[in-house]
Amino acid sequence: MTVKAWLEMAIHDAERRGLPELKPLLEALAKATSALRTAEWNADATGEFASDPDPGSPAPTNGR
């Protein structure tokens, strides 16, 4: 699941559960998730490191 798809799903679910105040926190978390996924130390199944950015990810702003 892309970060973009995850964020849409999470916000939708939070609103359905009557927790709209979660939205800004989930948006901030999505940035951290993007940072985590695009960190150069992540290995992938090809045996390579330095994954490409997740399509549609929010730009990481995690002090990087």
Binding site: D13, L25, A32, L36, A39, G63
Partner: protein, 461 residues
């Protein structure tokens, strides 16, 4: 007339020599709690009757020559996450209403065995999930020097109680900095040992793989006494201690966003260490910029797992902010948790590498002075940042990595608010960290952290 004992080291000497009694010291602490707790809200529960009984029993044993060691007869408090048999462990939450612990936490058993007198249980950020202590079912704990400010958190009641003379030490917990942050904010010493060294059995968890327990007290020697007691051993003397203290400063990331007064206070401390003969070099932890993302993707789902059932059944029993933060963790994907665990190993290796050839890392413990209660953001490094993020920035890395770390006072702001430094030691060598910290404490000439605040039982400030 001899000065009132300020530290456990001083008090234990006086108790052993029968120059004072545990009963009189405990009485002084209970009096102080009675006077100051209505303002500071540091204690949730006070064991007045039991504490007096324990103190009298300690005095009888000492008089009979059955001295148990340096904690015998010493008044200590517990963050209200530690189980005490027959008492509620509230976790500062309505969720725990009606709870009564059926046994003591492992650490409490060890403290009782050492003869410590448990005076009560201290306030905290609800379920330890915050850095300010504002979100508590019992209302916020407040800073001893300025009650309009937070004492830090989540072990804020513990730090306030120690700094204000309500007890000589307090046991806290630390998942992202919750011992070191309030210790720095209140001008006392806070030790987070190496991950896994001290049992968390009988302690309400926040994030089981990041949780640590440790003491908040008034000197490094006192931290060593409590750590040694809980480990069941005396810290060994190191035969290979370097004659010159060698410290490395991870400026990149860790010193990049500091309050100007904290930055100045820390640099003054560095200068004092150099004058004392220490060598200070700079070091880089290459992926420090990933620490926040790694931390969030571990702490949030682990906390959510523990709280999932009560979030469904009794969501209204949580404070609003803590509930929302816990709910966030329920959305994190398993693959991202797994990535964070991989990042955790990387950060540990990089901190191991940064410690090669030095006695410890030296950095601020808290990027800002104690914040005003109710202020959600702070301007730092040219940007407006959430207070919580800023307060965790200096400490959470060492919960991820598990390295032992200690906060100790290193100066004050122009308003007299404490500034804290932090030393990080080699993984598994908490005793070595304590020896280094003792040398740093001596060089900074701040052996009794609380003296600016606390002048002894019954004395006015």
């Amino acid at each position: 007339m001899a000065a009132e004992p300020q530290t456990i080291s001083e008090l234990s000497r006086a108790l052993k020599a029968r120059q004072t009694t545990s009963e009189s010291v405990v009485d002084g602490c209970l009096q102080r709690i009675g006077e100051r707790n209505p303002t500071l809200n540091a204690f949730i529960t006070v064991f007045e009757h039991d504490a007096r009984e324990q103190a009298r029993a300690a005095d009888r044993e000492i008089a009979a020559g059955r001295y148990r060691g340096p904690l015998h007869g010493v008044p200590i408090s517990l963050k209200d996450l530690f189980d005490v048999r027959g008492a509620a462990t509230t976790a500062a939450s309505h969720v725990r209403q009606g709870h009564v612990a059926d046994r003591d936490a492992a650490a409490v058993t060890a403290l009782r065995h050492a003869g410590a007198v448990i005076v009560g249980k201290t306030n905290l950020h609800e379920f330890a999930f915050g850095t300010t202590n504002e979100d508590s079912a019992f209302g916020p704990a407040r800073h001893p020097l300025d009650p309009s400010r937070s004492p830090g958190g989540s072990s804020g009641g513990s730090a306030a109680a120690v700094a204000d003379g309500m007890c000589f030490a307090s046991m806290g917990t630390d998942t992202g900095g919750s011992i070191r942050i309030p210790a720095a904010a209140c001008g006392v010493v806070g030790l987070k040992p190496t991950c896994g060294e001290l049992s968390t059995e009988g302690v309400v968890p926040l994030s089981p793989t990041l949780d640590h327990i440790g003491p908040i007290c008034r000197s490094v020697a006192d931290a060593a006494i409590i750590y040694g007691t809980l480990r069941g051993e005396r810290p060994a003397e190191s035969p290979s201690e370097s004659p010159t203290l060698r410290l490395a400063i991870p400026r990149h990331y860790f010193l990049a966003a500091l309050d100007p007064q904290v930055a100045a206070g820390f640099e003054t401390a560095c200068e004092r260490l150099r004058e004392s003969g220490a060598t200070l070099t700079d070091v880089v932890i290459p992926h420090a910029g990933d620490i926040v993302a790694i931390y969030l993707h571990i702490v949030l789902p682990e906390a959510a797992a523990y709280h999932a059932k009560t979030l469904e059944r009794r969501p209204e029993d949580y404070t609003k902010n803590v509930r929302i933060r816990l709910e966030m963790g329920r959305y994190i994907l398993g693959e991202d948790y797994a990535r964070a665990l991989g990042g955790r190993e990387l950060i540990k290796r990089e901190i191991d590498a940064a410690l090669e050839g030095v006695d410890g890392l030296f950095l601020p413990a808290l990027a800002i002075p104690a914040p005003k209660i109710g202020v959600p953001t702070v301007r730092i490094g040219g940007a407006e940042e959430p207070v919580r993020n800023v307060m965790l920035r200096s400490t959470q890395a060492f919960n991820i990595s598990g390295h032992p770390a200690i906060a100790l006072p290193c100066g004050t702001t122009s308003e007299g608010l404490p500034i804290g430094a932090q030393i990080v030691g080699a993984f598994g060598d908490t005793a070595g960290l304590l020896r280094v910290a003792s040398r740093v404490e001596a060089a900074l000439a701040a052996p009794v952290a609380a003296t600016e605040i606390y002048r002894g039982p019954g004395r006015s400030r």
